[in-house]
Structure formats: C-alpha cells, structure tokens
Symmetry: D2
Subunit: 313 residues, 4 copies
C-alpha cells in the first residue's frame, strides 16, 4: 500500500495528513474541532475528503484520545469529544469509501515513533507522552500491544500514590497527576505561592501571581535558572523516572521514548528523568538497562503513526 | 515432542517431573536443595537424571526464582540460591545431554496455568503468584511475554507506596511488601499486637504471642471468623486488587489468575480481591472487565509450565 | 461575672446567645449571614444587640472560622467570610460597648465541651470537630492552648498523605481531606460509582446517581447496613483514629472529644474510630490510654464556649 | 537551690554532671553503660555519688530515652536499657539521699535549650533532636509540656507516610524513619547503590561500598559537594521541614530548635529545613512565622536540662 491518511483529533483543531511509506507528511488539511460528538465525526470526514481530493490515498487511520475497542472500530469512551460507544470506523468508511482503522492516540504516537522516530532499530519500545496528561503506548516484538479489549497501555491512570490526588477518571493518585504538563504547572504554582522569593523570574514571565503561571513560563524560567522552575522540573522528572522504572519491571523494553510537550525541553527534562529512572530501577546491577530517548517526531507522531497503522491494515 | 521434564527449585527441595502433552505429571523425583550455588546445579542434574532414567524424556525446562536472560540460558541473578550470571542451560545440557530451557519460575507457573489450568480458553492472561513474595507472568496473544532482556513481568517490585516499606531488592514500597504471604503475616501480627482482644482465635492457634503467628494460623483463624485474621486478608486483598487494576490499565488481559499459597483459601481471598479490583479499575463503565480466576494447578504450575516451555522449544 | 454572650458565625446564619455560668443558653437571636466582610460585622453587632436588649450581659465572645491573633482581637484570615486582618474586637466593642473576646471557632467549641460537655473532669483534652472540614482545639492543664501567635490546634491541615489530595489551603494531603464530612461523601460517591451493586440503599436515598449522594444519605444508609455506606464510615474512622493516635503522641491528653456533624452518628462512627486509634497508638502497652468520647453539646459547643471564654476574660 | 546534678544515659556511657544556675557544668563523672536493667541503675548511682562526693549538690535530674510517667518517677518503657515500669526515682533516692526527678531525655534536652541555649527569649518553643532517631520536647508558656500521662512530644512516632517504613516501635511510616541520622545514612546508601557514579567522594570516605557508608561520611562528603551526599541531606531536610510545618499547625511556637548530631552541620542542613518548612507551612501569608534555630548546647543539652528540671523541683 502506498499513501495513507492519518487523522489527529486535537482540542482546537482536527488535522488530516497524507503520509508516505517513509513516514513523511505529503499534504495536510485542518479544520476546527466542533463542540458536539457528531460534529467531530463530520469534521473528520471533511478534513479527510479535502486532503484526499488533492492527494488520493488508500486508507485512513484515526487517533482518538480514549478507549478504542479490540476491533479498532468503536471508540468506547472519549471524554474530550464526548463519545460513548461511537462506531467511528463504520461511520467514516461509509462516508469516505476508504478502509478505516481507529486507534488510541497515544498508541498511534508510539507507533509513529517506533516506525519513523526514536524507536527505529528497537523491537520492544515503551513510549510515554507527557502532554497535558500522560499517555502511553507499547510495542512488543514489533507489534503494537493493544490488549485483549483494546485498552492496554493506559499508563496515565496507574496508581502511584495511594489516597493521592483526585483524577478526572474518578480514581486517585494516578500517574498523570504527578507526571504531565498539568502537574508541572501545579508544582510551579504551589512552590511560587509558598516561596515567591525563589520564583522571581518565573513570576515575572506571567502576570506576577502564582495562578498566572503557565507551562511555557516554567520552561522559560527553568532555562534561566529560576530555582522554583528548576525544582518543578526536577519533581516532574522524579515521578516520570520512577514510573519508567516500574514499566521496566513490567514490560522490559530495550528503549523508552519520552514524548509530548514537556519533552520538548530535551535534556533539561530528559536527564533528570534518566537519573530518577536509574535511581529506582530494581535489580539494576543484574540486568541490561533500557535507553531513555527523546521522541523525534514532535506533534506529528500521532498522525504519522495512525497513517502507518492504516497502511499495515 | 512427547514427554518433557520440568524442574522446580524450591527453598528446601528441588523437584524434577516428567510431564506429558496434556500437562500431567507422569513421574517425579526430588532432592534436597543444597546450600551452595554449584551444589544446586549438581542437584538439578541429579534429579533430572533420576527421573529420566525411569521415564525417558526429550527436553528439560527449569524454573528459577530470579532474572533469566533473553536467551533463556543464563540466570542473571537468583538471590535464593546465590547465582550471579550462572550459565545454567550450558551446564545442564552438557551433563544431561538434553536440550534445556531456563525460565523465571513465575513465568513458568503462568505458562502452566495458561496451558493446562485456569487460563485455558484465554489468549491474554496475567498471572500473579502470592507466595512468600509476589511473582508474575504475562501471556500476550498466546505467547509468554519475556521482554527484550528476559526480565519482564517482575510485578513484585513495582512501587505502590512512595517512601514505603523497605524491600529485599533495595527499593521501597514494592507491591510484594503489601500483597504476599509475608505481608499477610505482618498484617496479622501488627493487628494482633495492637488489639489482642480482637485476635483471640488467631493467637490461640500459635504460641499466644503476635510474633508466633504464622501464615497457616491466619488462614485457619479467618475461616473461624477471627476479626483480626479476616481484616488481615481484607488488607491483603485491597492491595492485590488495586494492583490488578493497574495491570489491567497496562496489559489489558481477558483474565487474571491468582495463584500461590495465599490463593489456596479460594473465595475467602479471591472475593475481596475481586471487589478491590472493581473498586480501582479505571474506566470500568466503558470497558469489558477481565475475570479474576483462582489458579488451578497449585504448586505444580511451575514444574508443568517449565516442562511445556521446553516442549515448545 | 454572670451572663455573657456567645456568637457563632455560620455559613447561612449568625447566632448570638446569652449563656449563664452553667453553660445554659438563656436566650438567642439569629440573623442571616451577609455576603460581604463588613456586612458580617454589622450582622454580628445586630444579633448581639438584639439578644442583649432582652437579657443584659457583661461580655461577648465570638467564634470565627479562621486564624485569630494572639491578642484574641484580630481575625488574621477567615476564608468563609473573606476577612483579612480584620480588627473584629475593636469594631464590635466600639459599637456594643461590652468587652469582646475573639476566638477560633473550633477552639471555642473545644472549650465549651471541656467546661460543660464531654470534657468535664478532664484537665487535658484534645477535641476534633468533624464537620464539613476538620477543626481542633486543645486544653492543657485546664487552659486553652492558643499557641504563641494564636493559631495553634489547626489539626485539619497537618499532612497525613505526602503528595495527597489537594486542599483549599493550598497544601496537599491535609488531614481534613481524609477525615471530615466532605471526605465521607467523597468516599461514598467513589465507592457507589465503582460498585453500584453494593450501594443500592445508598443510591436510592438520593437521586440514584453517585453525584447525588449527600452526607445525610450516607448516615441513613449506614444505619440500614448498606455496604458502601458502612465502608465509607469505616474509611473515615480509619483516618480519624490514626490521626488521634498521632495527637496522643504529641499532646498526650486524658481524653479526646469527637464532635461535629459526623459524630452525631454516635457509636456507629465512634467505635471504629476507637478501634483505629488503638490500632495506631504507639507504645500502647506501656502507657495509659486516653478515652475517645463523643461530644455532648452538639452545635451549641462553639457559642457556649465563646461565651464562657468571654466570662473568663 | 544552687548546684544540681544532671544525668545523661547514653548507649555506651552514663554521664553525671554538677550544673550551676547558669547552666554551666562544674564537674562531671562518666561510667560505662552496663548491659542489664539493674546494672544501669547501679551505674547511675555510682556516677552521681562520684560527682557529688567532689562537688556536693542538692538534687538529681535524670534524662532517660523512653516513656516517663506523669509523676516523673517511673520509667514506663525504655527500650535501650530494657526498663519496664522501672521505679527509678525511688531507687535512686533511696541510695543517694537526694531528691530525684526523672524526665524523658528529649524533653530534658529541650528544656536545656530553652533555658540556656537557643530558646532563650522565647516562651513557646518546640525542639526536635535529630540523632540516631528523632526526639522532641515542647515548652508552652515557659513550662515543659509533659502531657497528662507524661508521654507527650513523642514526635518521632507520628505517622508521616501511611503504609510507610517499619519502625522499631511496631508502627509504620513514623517521622523518625524519614528524618533522623539513621534515615540520612539510608538515603545515602540507597542512592550510592543506585547511582555510584554520583557518589564517588562519598564512597571513597568509607570502604567503597554503599553498606560501608556512615553518617560522618555523608556529612564530610556533603561539605565536599558530593551529589549523592548533598541530595541525601536535601531529602532529610524535606521531611524535617514538612514535619515542622505540621508542628506549627499543632503547637504554634515562636521558635523551633533543631538539635542532635545531624544539626551539627549547621546551615548545611538548617537552610534546606527552613526552605522546606516555608514550603509546607499552611496559611503562611496570614500568620507570623516561627524561627527555625540551631541548637546551641550540643550533646550537653540533656544533662544540663535534667539538672535544671531537678532545680525547679
């Protein structure tokens, strides 16, 4: 199969892109993300039709934030776009006339990195995406690990603190409450409120209040050496790295790939994650260590991965 | 391949057994477990030779508590018998003249249950063994998940309590410190010391002191309704079930199998585990639930599984 | 001094009452709680004037939820009525013409119980109030322990879970997030959502949804034996009792008094708290145990205590 | 009263010293600590007799690690010297012929610092002693806070981590497991084992192995900037400071005094403790902050404090 289309459903826009066999995006089209569940389906179809009318392709892969069933056809639950048991594959196939594969977006991103990014050369890869939340994907022996019901690799919701922070999922102490972009901002705000004298640079980047601190301020302030910002990244890295150590005990991959907006900071965040990973890796003297790599595809990973999964059929 | 031999290395004895294609043990031989690393190798060979001289077999599978490398040949680290980078496969093959496969003992037990026990009819199975510690094994799509370096599914050492109990592995807060036979005894002793008036039956089964409480006393007292013993099982189940919920988020199997001595109590411990599993399963409304099953092979699982893995080659 | 006035500032109404030397309320007056900081001061004065015009009294004690300074004059911080460094004593004295004492409301309630309620006969008492949040007060050697700056005994905000639940105070893991009326409702809702089949009675008392569960439903359902409601009280008791054990290590009183709405359930909640207290009391074999008593004054404790503190001068 | 004697019972030696009204030690005598409970009593009497034969004094104060009853007469429980309900006051008075006061050693040290050390000028002081374990003492309004039964201020055993580290007291998660000299060594060993490349200086000070690391090595290495040693002090400080913040919510003193061997490092450890204290102090904008001071009397605090308590009668 030659060209295929990948679809990425974001909070503000939906992107469809034609992707070739080397993982390069040939052509893209974007539409705003509508506010209704059915509107999102319409928008996906519109974006796909626009891009394929310019550059014909043979199949469509859609990455969705949520649970996708074992047939890669129905989105069981997608809180962001308010889908419940949404038969997305059937609907889009009927309208577009191309075979459709639906996949969890973090799975799709992991696949993209495995095939065309940091995971090349590895057969066993665990990918975490530190975006607003924390997503995950697992490749085992060169195959995407979907689980029996399609909902494997939901790393963000393993419990790392009993009786810990409330999570939107209804549980407590979920990993994404401690290792994600949202967590980073919380760390920075709490520390800036408690010790503003150590957060002068950070606070100056926003409106001067702890509440005004945004993720990009933390990154910028950390690069400037602001103590609170640096400490916030360190805290994030502590939780990210200790979680990777757990994943090593579970999946034992040869490489971890860390993606998502937080990882854009590169070694500023990767190095402390590596340090924490080594700190918590059980039996580290007796086993080969997985590498901890920065993702390479940035925000394209999900779209490229979804397109490639559609190509694989 | 017809008959194969499985070897189980226990703390007090080493058992070798000839196993047929249906997982039945035809013949066994046991020898005491020696105190030196090299002595254990000798004893394995002796037990295998004894059993195969009576009933010839075609291959040998050895289950060892520890890390086994990706070639299933070298035991990287086995604390109980003090092996470090022990080339077990080569040594035993040279002496016995049969092909040898080495596997982590909990992996072997999981494979045994998958093939001939509670896992029959499932392709995606996660097995936990609640013995003195907590071991694990994973079957994905009908294949044993060994990881890139052979050390996957080391469930006992994922961190469930930050800054938690010290573990023999050098880390803190490992799952097996909260869900295992050893944990059960600790729960019972602590509670019996704090509230002896609620532990009358439990204390009467031992020497009357909290320190004298053994695992079998807790089981017996729980069956008699002793409040402290019942509460200790409940605490164990809380941690076991919440951990299974995490494993569902990671591996998404169709069935969990709970084995090991603790699970001999059947629904006394399985039912609270199931309850805790449902309590902590993330997204439980939107996904099919894995079953939580009691293991069926008891202490034979490891030997039978190792023999079958040797048969698979 | 004979009759004095106590003032209780609630979320919906402000009550002023004339109290005699035996702690009996002779006369009361209530006004709605205004929405502005200054309005609350006006309303306090109005309520006091109304009640004292009927029954003249000699001094006024005001209980306020928040920090009160060491001179018992200025409310440093009262989030509910939005006071910041509010010179309450001076303002009310000027308008009313009577001496005024301001006290933290939970301190006032503790004093009330000590003098006229469950604490009679004890000189060293620690009181916790399980209302919406968790308040505390301490009597040492027959004197209210206010601390050097007036802000002692803020039990609700000691950290019982590192990296735990967010608290309105800006910190995490505060005791009141785990032991309070609000916590009780959260426990019940979480459990009802996860295992609705065990919460039939509880859900039937509200609108059928977990979100519709209110505190009074949990109490009622627990009395009916609803498993989820009973388990929710048990969870609350676990945290309340372990916290009392810590307070015993710190203050070593002869009696704990448990008040607030949650304690209205009496032994339904007190017995599990006692059990948890014994479970976690350090060195319990070697020391006399404090009693854990139910408060006796109910919602009157704060008003009566404030009036009596004014009498003491 | 003029000169009095203070007695300090250490693990290897027992010291008796004559102390004047300014807290100066005039004369001392030491004897080795015997291995039997009764032997320790004999040794105390011998040391006191020796010192008082040279310099007559009027009363004796004895500091003992353990629970002392409300009459300051009986040691309820002293694990180090194996006393259980030991009538120490009576025994020593009979043999020595001077009035005797028995006090918990950390209480005595707190009193010493309050009277003659860092606490001078304060009436409300909370003292923590970071030695092998963590001891505490509280002065409220110029009086030692002993609690109703004599066992107040046992700070080391408040629970700061649910399901945390086992403690010698039988409980789990006690503060002294996270903030003490023993904890510091554990932090250093764990980190040195996990990341030896960051602990080169630390390991070189001992025998090269993580197990060989001692407390003095951590201090020395931290002064040299060894990353693992610095990080270990930071971890200790995190827990010490957050605990002080809790104590501020409970006791609200005007000063904290940090003593014990760990505090010998001065601002190396005090500054991070202060930072952590500010980080976790609840309501820090709305209240005066207690100072966090280094103890001034070093190892003499307990002896001097015990002597002064005997003087007070």
């Amino acid at each position: 199969m030659g060209l295929t289309i990948g679809v990425d459903i974001g909070g503000t826009k939906i992107a469809a892109g034609v992707v070739d066999e080397e993982g390069s995006i040939i052509e893209t089209s974007t539409v705003p993300t509508p506010g209704t569940p059915e509107g999102v389906v319409d928008a996906i179809c519109a974006a796909v039709q626009e891009v394929t009318s310019a550059t014909p392709a043979e199949a469509v892969g859609i990455g969705a934030a949520g649970y996708v069933d074992d047939k890669r056809a129905t989105v069981l639950f997608a809180p962001n776009v308010n889908w419940r048991f949404e038969a997305l594959k059937d609907k889009v196939e009927q309208r577009i006339g191309l075979p459709v594969v639906v996949e969890n977006d973090a799975n799709a991103a992991a696949w993209g990195e495995y095939r065309f990014g940091a995971g090349q050369g590895h057969d066993d890869v665990v990918c975490i995406t530190l975006g607003t939340g924390l997503g995950g994907g697992v490749i085992i022996g060169g195959r995407l690990h979907r689980g029996r019901f399609g909902v494997a690799a939901e790393f963000g919701h393993i419990r790392v603190v009993p009786d810990g922070l409330l999570c939107g999922c209804g549980s407590q102490g979920c990993w994404e409450q401690y290792a994600s972009g949202r967590a980073l901002v919380r760390y920075a705000r709490q520390r800036a409120a408690a010790t503003p004298e150590s957060a002068a640079k950070l606070l100056a980047l926003g409106d001067g209040t702890p509440e005004g601190v945004q993720g990009r301020h933390v990154s910028e302030a950390a690069r400037q050496g602001d103590p609170v910002a640096v400490d916030s990244f360190r805290e994030l890295a502590r939780w990210a790295g200790s979680g990777l150590a757990d994943l090593a005990s579970l999946f034992d991959p040869s490489a971890f790939i860390v993606g998502g907006g937080v990882s854009d900071e590169g070694d500023l965040v990767l190095d402390p994650i590596r340090k924490s990973f080594r700190r918590w890796l059980v039996g580290s003297q007796w086993r080969p260590h997985a590498q901890v790599l920065a993702a390479q595809l940035g925000g394209r990973a999900g779209l490229v991965g979804a397109a490639d999964l559609a190509r694989q059929g």
